[in-house]
Structures are given as structure tokens and as C-alpha cells.
């Protein structure tokens, strides 16, 4: 029998995420599993340990010879034989590995970690009808598009791989994960550049709140450290080019000498679950997703709005939905990409929204350690927020040698992780096209 899902709970306690209509409260959404593939580790705990230790994942590009490129550095996911490298064979079939771009491999692995962590490897068919996937990517299979176009050019159309299209499509992380784990609920993929990961989690949380699913794997994946990716972002003047000889110093959000972002790669995936569903099966609950805000700058394709208007409204909407007071937020994981304009505009928007409450908050950019994972960033950084809630410690901003004047008085957690009370967190992600997303989560 095909399940139509459990009846709507008639009575749920505590603070609630959304209201469909006045008096009708919606289902609560909690996080019950985490998965990470990052330049600092191929598991949640390894990455987190390295982030808290203040390590940097940056280095000279090894994937291709970048000698002639303006930017020659990136935060690469390390090979399997590295101390904290990534072994694709753990969770991705050999055949799939041959057919798909690396962002899909990272995404499948991170999703697998999250399902294992949530204790959901053995879901019944009925449960799987109500379990879906929302894992997006900002760019998708750029390395494979580039290499296959060379095959077409040099060898002709009969030599293009039959797996070319579905091995590069952005929604094929969700597609592959759905097939591998038999998830038959929503099969969705967000594409909103660098806010993809945050939008993916927010959209998936809404699907659960709106009763479209009980379980959602949500997150983002990216892998574009390839000649076309580095050249393209460098030509858009988005990448750091002043630190090619000292890669670990290049990603320096809020520092006066910052000159662009350092490209990262990897994936972050969370298991979102309806609260009563998680409670009924005795799941470990990391956090509750209580607020989600989205906005558009309506200003410029790459430059943020000069008054940070979109960022402000995105955070404001997430806070309003959360039902929290501004003073309740303890930690913000900033978008903070280390670009000259973006960092200060975001900080200005935070200052306008939070006012004096900023004095007691901490705000850091973990992009200083793992670079900018583009479509993966919002998901990976949401996981850092969740771990901050779990461990009552906030991760540092590296390389903050000379903070910009506008940063004075703000606790940007320079160099070292800091133990502190963390009851509620905000994560920001902003993307090309003027797209903004903010998530508010709290301990439960």
C-alpha cells in the first residue's frame, strides 16, 4: 500500500516554524544527520576538528598546471592518501565515479554520511515514500563540460560520452542519491549560485513543514577547480591574486588586505526531519530550523547592493519567521567571502539589523579556512553553525591581521576558536544574480 503519510499532528509544542493561516501551526523541522566533504576533511568530525584548530585548506592548485593563471591557488579536497583526504570508493560505485563530475561524487558521499549519521540506512518503503532530496549546486559539471567539448572538437560527435549529460546536470546529485537510497519523496535541486546550499536547506525545510515529506536530505555540492572555472572567476575579478606565493594567507575576510575569494570545493548535506517523526524513532536531534529568509538585490549581476539591502531583508525575514528576539542570536556564520566590497556590506547590514546586540554576538567566516565552496558553501557553513550549537564553541576567522575600520568592536573570532554560549545561530549566503538566503537555527 502506498502511504499517504501520517495525519497532520493536531498538537505540537514549543516554538513553530511557519503558520499556514492564523491559528494553524505548521510542522517543526529538525536536523538529525550531517555529512561533509571539504578541503579540511572527508567527514564531519575531521573537518570540524581542523576548523577549530585554525587550519587552512588552501594550497597551490594541483589539478592542473595553473602557472599562467592570475590565480594559482585554491582549497582542494585532498586525495585519498592525504591525512584528511577523500576516498570516493567508500560510498560511490566505481561505475558512477567514471560517469559523473566530481561535484556529484562529493554530494553522494556527503549524503551517505548524513543518512548513516541519522540512522536511516534501513528505511521501510513507506518511510522512503515520504523521504526526499534537495541537493543543489551553483555551477554543476563545469570540468566535464570543458573536457567533453574538447573531445567533440578533436574527435567529433560520435566520441562524446553517452553519460555526458546526466553526469554533469546539477540535479543529478539529488537524482543519484534518490536512486542509491531509494528515496521517493521530492527530488529537487536548487541553483542559486553561492546561496544554493542555504536555499536548498530552507526549501527542503519548507517541504517538510508543508507536509510534502517527513525526511529531506538537503545541501549543496561544488567542484569547479578546473581551468575554465579558475579563469572565469579570475576574469570576473572575483578571485584573490595577491597571495599566490602564500596560499594560506589569501582568504582573509574582513582584513584590510583581502583581494578576492579563494575557490573551494566539496559538499555539505543535512538530514532534515519532521520533529515528531524524529522524536518517535528516538533520533539524535542536532538543532531545529526555525527561520528562513530569501531576497533579491535587483541591482547587479555580480556586485552586491551598495547598501546591503538584499542581505538585510534576507536576515530580517529569517529572524521574523524564527520568532526569536534579535538578542537571542549568539553566532553568525557570515557569507564573508574575502572580497573587498562584499564583506563590509554584509557587516553593515548585520549592524543595521542587530544594532547593539552585535556587541554580545560572535560572527566569523569559515571561508578563511576552507575557501568558498560556491553552491556548497551555505550547506557546509550551516553544518558548522549546527556544530557550534552542539559543542558551544564558535569557529575562527583566519588571517584577520588588520581588520577593516568598519569591523572595530565586532567579535569576528580572530585566529582561534572561542568557547561561548551558543543557543541560536544565523547563517548567511549570497550569490551572483543578487540572490540572498539566511537560515536561523537553534538548539533544542
Amino acid at each position: 500500500m502506498i502511504s499517504n503519510g501520517p495525519p497532520r499532528p493536531s498538537r505540537v509544542g514549543g516554538l513553530l516554524l511557519y503558520e499556514i493561516k492564523k491559528g494553524k501551526r505548521m510542522r517543526r523541522v529538525v536536523v538529525t544527520g550531517l555529512g561533509l566533504v571539504t578541503p579540511l576533511g572527508s567527514s564531519v568530525e575531521t573537518t570540524w576538528k581542523n576548523i577549530l584548530a585554525g587550519k587552512s585548506g588552501a594550497g597551490t592548485i594541483t589539478r592542473f598546471d595553473a602557472t599562467d593563471y592570475a590565480c594559482r591557488i585554491a582549497c582542494e579536497v585532498k586525495p585519498a592518501d592525504h591525512e584528511y583526504g577523500f576516498d570516493p570508493n567508500l560510498r560511490v560505485d566505481h561505475k558512477v565515479q567514471r560517469q559523473v563530475d566530481p561535484f556529484i561524487i562529493y554530494g553522494i558521499d556527503a549524503a551517505g554520511q548524513a543518512i548513516e549519521d541519522a540512522g536511516l540506512l534501513d528505511m521501510s518503503e513507506e518511510t522512503r515514500f515520504r523521504a526526499g532530496v534537495s541537493i543543489g549546486s551553483g555551477i554543476g559539471g563545469l570540468p566535464g563540460i570543458a573536457s567533453e567539448s574538447i573531445v567533440l572538437h578533436e574527435k567529433g560527435p560520435k566520441r562524446v560520452s553517452p553519460h555526458f549529460v546526466h553526469g554533469r546536470l546539477i540535479n543529478l546529485v539529488s537524482g543519484q542519491v534518490s536512486i542509491k537510497y531509494g528515496l521517493m519523496g521530492p527530488n529537487h535541486a536548487v541553483v542559486t549560485a553561492c546561496s544554493t546550499g542555504a536555499h536548498s536547506i530552507g526549501d527542503a525545510a519548507r517541504m517538510i513543514a508543508m507536509d510534502d515529506a517527513d525526511i529531506m536530505l538537503a545541501g549543496g555540492a561544488e567542484a569547479t577547480i578546473c581551468p575554465l572555472g579558475i579563469a572565469g572567476f579570475a576574469q570576473a575579478r572575483a578571485l584573490s591574486t595577491n597571495f599566490n606565493d602564500s596560499p594560506e594567507r589569501a582568504s582573509r575576510p574582513y582584513d584590510k588586505d583581502r583581494d578576492g575569494f579563494v575557490m573551494g570545493e566539496g559538499a555539505g548535506v543535512v538530514v532534515l526531519e519532521e520533529y515528531e517523526h524524529a522524536k518517535a524513532r528516538g533520533a539524535k536531534i542536532y538543532a531545529e530550523v526555525i527561520g528562513y529568509g530569501l531576497s533579491g538585490d535587483a541591482y547587479h549581476v555580480t556586485a552586491p547592493h551598495p547598501e546591503g539591502s538584499g542581505a538585510f531583508r534576507s536576515m530580517q525575514m529569517a529572524m521574523k519567521k524564527s520568532g526569536l528576539a534579535l538578542e537571542d542570536i549568539d553566532y553568525i556564520n557570515a557569507h564573508g567571502t574575502s572580497t573587498p566590497m562584499g564583506d563590509e556590506l554584509e557587516l553593515g547590514a548585520v549592524r543595521r539589523l542587530f544594532g547593539n546586540n552585535l556587541d554580545t554576538m560572535s560572527m566569523s567566516s569559515t571561508k578563511s579556512a576552507i575557501g568558498h565552496l560556491l553552491g556548497g558553501a551555505g550547506a557546509v557553513e550551516s553544518i558548522f553553525c549546527i556544530l557550534a550549537l552542539r559543542d558551544q564553541i564558535v569557529p575562527p576567522t583566519l588571517n584577520l591581521d588588520n581588520p577593516s575600520d568598519s569591523c572595530i568592536g565586532v567579535d569576528l573570532v580572530p585566529y582561534k576558536a572561542k568557547e561561548r554560549k551558543v543557543k541560536a545561530v544565523l547563517n548567511n549566503s549570497f550569490g551572483f544574480g543578487g540572490t540572498n538566503a539566511s537560515l536561523v537555527m537553534r538548539a533544542i
Binding site: D93, K95, R98, K158, R159, S161, P162
Partner: protein, 78 residues
């Protein structure tokens, strides 16, 4: 085992991610080795590259087992 057979089997193992022992001459790509129709398109391309032969679509459709592939290649390679 012929030289062609060795090279064919190596390609099949690499593309389908199956153990070498399973790639017998009687093995069917779809029924025994887990290939789908797109995998066969890819295998045919790999055989064409490896052996410098052209395998037209109507011939490719008739290649169901490892032996079919070896026989076609031996009969058509230069």
C-alpha cells in the same frame, strides 16, 4: 586467450567496475555484468577507440556478450 579477448576484457572491467573473473566470454553485458543500454554505447565507443574499428549501430545492437564483441572486432579490425 587471444590478444583481442584480453584487451576487450580489460575495457569491460574498467568501464563496468566488475571483477575480472566475471568477464567470461559467455557473459552477457546486460544480464551478467550489470550494464544498461548507455553503458553498451560507451563500451562500443571504447572498443572502436582501442581497436581502430568502426562498429555501426546495427552491428552494435547485436553485441550482447563478451564473445560477440571479440568476434566482431577480430573479423573487422585492420
Amino acid at each position: 586467450m587471444s590478444e583481442t579477448a584480453d584487451r576487450v576484457k580489460k575495457i569491460v572491467v574498467e568501464h563496468l567496475g566488475v571483477e575480472a573473473e566475471k568477464v567470461t566470454e559467455e557473459a552477457s553485458f546486460i544480464d551478467d555484468l550489470g550494464a544498461d543500454s548507455l553503458d553498451i554505447v560507451e563500451l562500443v565507443m571504447a572498443f572502436e577507440e582501442e581497436f581502430g574499428v568502426e562498429i555501426p549501430d546495427d552491428a552494435a545492437e547485436k553485441i550482447a556478450t563478451v564473445k560477440d564483441a571479440i568476434s566482431f572486432i577480430d573479423a573487422n579490425k585492420g
